[in-house]
Amino acid sequence: MKNKLYLYLKELNKKLSIRQKINFAILFEATIIAAISIFIFLTVRTLLSKVKFVEQFDNINIYFLEMRKAEKNYFLYHDINSLIEAYNKGKFVAGELNKNRKVLIHILTKKIYNTLNYTLNNYLTTLQKIKRSPKDKKYTSSLREYGHKLTDLSIHLIKRERKKINKIIHHVTLMILMSLFGIFLAHMLTWRYFSYVLTKKLIKMKKMTNEVAQGRFHEVSLIQSKIKDNVQDEVGIVITAISKMAKELEKREEQLLQAKKLVSLGVLISGVAHELGNPLNNISMLSEGFLTYYDSLSDEEKKKFMQDIQEQADRIKKIVRNLLDFSRQKKPELKVCKLEEVIEKSLALVENQLKISNIKVHKNFPSSLPNVQIDEDQIQQVLVNLYTNAMQAMSKGGDLFIDVFTSDTKNNIIIKVRDTGIGINPETLPHIFDPFFTTKGTKGTGLGLSVSYGIIRQHNGKISVESEQEKGTTFTIELPVYQENKEE
């Protein structure tokens, strides 16, 4: 049963919006305050009626006392008038008692009321008896007894009611204090609850938006399916909206990636065409010349023609092989190798372009470097990407410095690729490893450095950048040194 209620509340909690919850909380608090007010009102009313009663009874008591005084006077001076006065006072009280019978019974209970009434009647009858036979001593003692009983009773009743009043006042004060405290507490609790609920959700939202900002759309888009049967309140709606947005962004990103891939494919193809165009042209010209002048050529000259053709074919072969090596997509295959050799190979890939761009390469490697365990192709890809960027930064030519050294701790090999190009402006610098971030317009895919970043991270390495505008840019790659004993 209890479990059922809990489940029901949990379900309700999910269904209600924050506005509804706040309304509910306010209504709840208002109800409590109203109930407390009604209770206090009723108590105060009782208190007032009690006070009124005590006042009334005080009157009665005064009459009783005056009645007793007249009675005493009679016994002292035997004046018949005092006897009549006592009787009249008593009769007045009896009338009063009778007049307020209902109220008195309610406050005093029927038993006490009857005792009071009965004793007063006895007193009055005794008074009459004394009036008729003043000499009879046996009535005087019973009269005293009744009179005494009456005053005692009335004083006792007043005392009792006063006590009750004090008790009620005490209770009411306590009650008011407690309800104030209770209301305060309830208020604090609801406040805490809402601030907790809101901040918790807002923090969640902040996390989500941060992830979106960092381009991790997939993680954020998954949140939606996770919370599908969850909260339906305002924040829940926003979270769902953000999640949906991330999903859309993810979709768009994929489309964009495809488009960019096509563009980069186009760039690659035109690059290949250019690289191959020259040797192909040479072969075409050589063979044409060979055929035209065949009859007039000496054997030596014919041989030279064929050697030249073969040389050009080799050139094509080399280009194609390098391209294949470069573009092959595969999982990182870690092999122990010498970093300086990898760097030399990567430079050979862009040698021609560097020459065309009027860029001088300065290599600075120490004579012996520790080995690294890397995927050669991937590291080459990273380096070629850095060279390409450097070339684009130095469109009017310049110097490319490649420094390799071991870190102070001997745990890492550091490669610094520095150019003397236009540099990167400080605002774009933090974004250069972001996917699709490019300063090259349609000429760049914005993928080069982000892919490089991913590759270096997969190698447990680090890649960072420093740049000064108009002075140049330095990329620093750190790769862990291969440790033989660790592998065994």
């Binding site: 165009g277 042209n281 010209m285 050589l286 020459k355």
Partner: protein, 129 residues
């Protein structure tokens, strides 16, 4: 054609191109000089104005586009033929805007060069008359 021999300057960083083009055009009766470096070519052009210039686009140092721009500025009546392995719409458009007569993509046939040169020669002779 009898009194004035048409002079041709060929610029390409591929030595095989210059080596093969030179005899083939000389045989046709033209006066031919070849260069593999644009700086040498531009210096020579300053000394001696040529009637026809055949140039590659992508080269070390000053590139072909820059070279032909200077040539056209110095001597607008010189006809320029571009031969390039990097033939794109953009480079072709730019070349024609600069007043290039013909634009040949590598690999080309010798006959194509001959046709282009003949076209240039005809234009030069027409203008002289």
């Amino acid at each position: 054609m009898d009194n004035t021999q048409i002079s041709i300057l060929i610029l390409d960083d591929e030595p095989i191109v210059t080596k093969r083009l030179k005899p083939s055009l000389q045989k046709k009766g033209y006066l031919v000089e070849t260069f593999t470096k644009s700086i040498d070519a531009i210096n020579r052009f300053k000394e001696k104005p040529f009637d026809i210039v055949i140039t590659d686009l992508k080269m070390e140092g000053m590139d072909g586009m820059e070279f032909l721009t200077q040539v056209k500025e110095m001597r607008p009546e010189t006809e320029v033929i571009v031969i390039t392995g990097f033939a794109t719409m953009d480079t072709a458009k730019e070349s024609f805007q600069k007043g290039v007569l013909d634009f040949l993509a590598k690999p080309f046939k010798l006959s194509e060069i001959h046709e282009a040169v003949a076209k240039a020669e005809k234009k030069i002779l027409d203008q002289k008359e």
